[in-house]
Symmetry: C2
Subunit: 350 residues, 2 copies
């Protein structure tokens, strides 16, 4: 069956993205999309950019890089734009990590990290999280090949403080990738520290905080030397990763922080409502700084996952060691979460 | 300066895309963009798709795959969609070619092929084109690791017949990638042959034929076994490479063949006008089946390139062995090409 596959293709264990079920009136709480639509400015920017579709996108992506830089108090030379942050992370692995030099990461974190490592023949040194799913900070030191750290972590939602992350950056003489996919929902950011540390790469996406999962815009913030490595790798793979509409829409989104701040504050409030309601019904809920919560219901999680799905509510359950007792639930609108909580009550009451 | 770069990043020789000069009233004939805008249906499809930007794109890309399949008389299982055809080609190298097994290609062809080979540690076996820049067909046999062939070739514009390409597919027991980036301008296609040969992968882009360079949509047509290898590699790199707007716009473009056929016939006529006019002033013009021509002016090409640029006409000149005497000129509108020809006359008359 695998005739003509490369040895590499045959050896891979690809990442599995959350499902996109075709169910009517679905309450979709499984892929951490923002509960609210993008800024109206995004749509007008996309419409205006349509006039240029015949031509190749701008290689330098000036407007997008400037908007990302401005939002973080950085310069455009600090920004590398990408087709979503997964592409950015993949290119970071290729640009900064070497086969034979182990890269430090956790046992419970974004499950794409070991997939990229395998794709590029990079060894991972996997630290177990503490029993309470916090990062064992005292062990995050002296990595030989690199560090990759999601903050807040996924799927736990637990965040380190900026000071704790800074300490990790200082204690490792190799590139430390801080994956801030879930910035904007209460966690402290280390974005501005890229001016201070030449081994820090902060990766972000507009998918969650800026309601643009469908547009595919991510970026890396780092010092210009690391950005040059990313450009060398990008221009050896695909010179035009971010299309004209994505550049325009992404820039417009980044320029409308007030709109997103208001939405994301609503999401934080809805998250606290949801966490409190789950705790009240006997669930353990990890402290989240993301737009999802990770909770252990008082009955088997797989069973709850299936029963919710029957009612048209889709959450994510990972059939994996240490976390198979938990559900990851994206924070939707208050109406959606009231439905979810209502259904949870019915399930737990039998 | 390269502290913290991976050995891989340090070793690369990235591809150089055509420049995008910021000159007013520019006549841009350097990156082979289509002379005409996309179908109006593309814009309405993009507008409608905006309603879904909050959510992740459809993983299966059903509508885009179906439109691409229909245009080629294939099934959706024969189609792999990508963020432009450069990404598709990069993933093909990773999915089908192995280090240590040389991949056959030409000395004068798309200059990104050796860049991908270097990125993925693949050796290229480079055949020199004949003196007239045609492919040495009798030598296109028995490749060990694979074949990559642009048809029509770039930057020459010369096309093989479908029968000649089929012979190459038959004579090599490894994957033959046929890069049809410039389909739609007169060359014969082997798209439908993917039903017949399990080692044929046809790569296409909507950038040229469908006026969508800014949207980033490409695809691979192949048998489902090869498509599975591409999916395994893709899902180890970036699960969502084609955004919601690109999926919708690309599908709408592929569904409006009549619109593009009419435009592309105009481009073919303009190409013949341009070629005849250049020949009349003593240039050698290779026979083109693409939306560009490759021509050797009777004076040094670099000089002509610079003089054209001073007049706001940008074409492409490659400072490379065998082809540094030539210019690659994209076919713009008839008005643009009349300007170009007028300027060429002035340059050649001193």
């Amino acid at each position: 069956m695998k005739k003509y596959w490369s040895r590499k293709a045959s050896s891979l264990s690809p990442y599995t993205a959350g499902e996109q079920p075709k169910i009517k009136n679905l309450i979709k709480l499984n892929t951490n999309e923002n509960a609210y639509p993008p800024s109206p400015n995004v749509f007008s920017a996309i419409e205006a950019a349509g006039a240029h579709l015949r031509k190749y996108p701008l290689l330098a992506m000036d407007a997008l890089a400037e908007a990302a830089a401005r939002a973080g108090g950085l310069a455009p030379e600090n920004i590398f734009c990408s087709n979503g942050s997964d592409e950015a992370l993949a290119l970071c692995f290729l640009a900064f990590f070497d086969p034979g030099k182990p890269v430090l990461t956790m046992d419970v974190t974004y499950s794409f990290y070991p997939v990229w490592a395998k794709l590029f023949d990079i060894t991972m040194q996997i630290l177990p999280l503490n029993d309470d799913f916090t990062v064992p900070l005292q062990e995050m030191t002296g990595a030989r090949g690199g560090v990759v750290l999601a903050n807040p972590n996924a799927p736990t939602g637990i965040a380190l403080s900026a000071g704790e992350v800074e300490k990790i950056v200082r204690q490792n003489d190799c590139v430390v990738i801080v994956d801030e996919a879930y910035f904007g929902f209460g966690a402290q950011s280390v974005l501005s520290l890229v001016k201070k540390y030449n081994n820090l790469a902060v990766v972000r996406t507009l998918s969650k905080s800026h309601s643009l999962a469908g547009l595919r815009v991510g970026y890396v913030a780092a010092n210009p030397n690391l950005i040059s490595a990313l450009l060398a790798v990008r221009d050896s793979f695909n010179s035009y990763p971010v299309g004209t509409l994505a550049q325009a829409g992404g820039a417009a989104a980044l320029a409308d922080e007030a709109y997103y701040k208001a939405n994301n504050e609503k999401i934080i409030k809805t998250r606290e409502y949801t966490a409190d309601a789950l705790k009240a019904m006997g669930a353990e809920v990890l402290p989240s700084a993301a737009n999802f919560i990770f909770a252990r219901p008082p009955v088997p999680a797989e069973k709850v996952f299936k029963k919710l799905r029957e009612k048209g509510i889709v959450v994510r359950w990972f059939n994996k060691e240490r976390i198979s007792g938990y559900l990851r639930v994206s924070i939707g609108t208050m109406e959606e979460m009231e439905c979810f909580i209502g259904e949870m009550k019915r399930i737990l009451n039998g």
